[in-house]
């Protein structure tokens, strides 16, 4: 693969592609499902009312779209949500950083997947999917894509989050 002479992608960075980082445990509970749903403005009772969720065939209150649990908070520790701005950081000559966007993918079908519900404990692991360089209106930039896999307490991959980070 040829690379421009002024590329900022190092061998160390290339070696990190596809390597899973440490895991983060996220808890999905009734109180945080409701808080997320309430803050977005959802009206569907399956995000708030356990009886309503079970009547629709779910195991419990359903995690709203975009909600993948709350990481266990430890005072003095990093409280960063995995995947978004988390993962390994490399030294690059760009000072500014932008969150380029996030995609969520869900795997709700049994037996390999499930709908995320209150009571679930999710383990998140992030890996870098790739690096890209481009020049645009912001000047030269490094685009890093990351993939976070969310596995529930039964070992099922229930969701993946794809994040794009732009450094320029």
């Amino acid at each position: 693969m040829t690379q421009a002479a002024n590329s900022v992608i190092t061998d160390e960075m290339r070696a990190a592609i596809g390597v899973e980082g440490p895991s983060t445990v996220m808890e999905v509970e009734k109180t945080n499902c409701r808080m997320f749903a309430r803050s977005v403005g959802h009206t569907d009772p399956i995000f708030y009312d356990e009886a309503a969720a079970k009547a629709r065939g779910y195991r419990g209150i359903v995690a709203p779209p975009g909600f993948l649990g709350t990481p266990i908070f430890r005072p003095g520790g990093a409280g960063v949500v995995p995947g978004e701005m988390g993962g390994r950081n490399f030294s690059v000559p760009y000072k500014r950083i932008l969150n380029g966007g996030t995609d969520y993918e869900y795997f709700p079908d049994p037996p390999d997947g499930d709908v995320i519900c209150a009571g679930d404990t999710i383990t998140a692991r992030t890996k870098i999917s790739g690096f890209e360089e481009a020049t645009g209106s912001l000047g030269p930039m490094l685009i890093t894509t990351r993939e976070t896999a969310y596995t529930n307490q039964h070992g099922k991959v229930v969701a993946k989050m794809y994040g794009t980070l732009i450094q320029y």
């Binding site: 945080n32 309430r38 708030y48």
Partner: protein, 154 residues
């Protein structure tokens, strides 16, 4: 208004979860692992992480049934007061504990009007309303806490 004293409200469920205990502890700036680390809390003889003092669970929030700003449940029963003042301040809270509250607990709360006082203050006439709430552990049936909340309307 005085006739409303002691009129019991309908019950409401308050839930204590690991995430909500941690959030409250984080909010007050506590670093005590008893509020964050389940294994540590159990090693100290508790069922799970311990609710910080002042935290009596989060009321179940159902859109349209809870006040969207303060979160308290609008519910049947309880005192009906026509308050002629528009402004509101928190007058203080007193909590009496009868047991330790831990994550995993589900509490049932009812409240009633305990006191009313009308006073003249620097900002004009002020109405002090004190409500007393009783929290019962749903599983054991035991009263775990009582809380007196005073609001100042002026």
């Amino acid at each position: 208004m005085r006739a409303q004293f002691g009129v019991e409200s309908a019950p409401w469920t308050y839930e204590v979860t690991t995430t909500s205990v941690r959030m409250y502890a984080r909010g007050i700036g506590s670093e005590d692992p008893i509020h964050y680390d389940v294994d540590f809390a159990k090693s100290q003889g508790f069922r799970s992480v311990v609710a910080p003092l002042g935290y009596l669970g989060t009321p179940v929030y159902l859109p349209g049934q809870n006040d969207p700003t303060f979160g308290f449940p609008r519910r049947g029963g309880g005192p009906r007061l026509d308050i002629p003042f528009k402004r509101l301040l928190d007058g203080g809270t007193e909590t009496e504990y009868l047991d330790v509250i831990c994550a995993g607990d589900v509490l049932v709360e009812t409240s009633h009007l305990a006191d009313l006082k009308l006073r003249d203050g620097a900002m004009g006439k002020m109405l002090f309303i004190t409500n007393e709430s009783v929290y019962t552990n749903k599983e054991t049936g035991k009263v775990v806490a009582k809380q007196r909340l005073t609001s100042i309307h002026y």
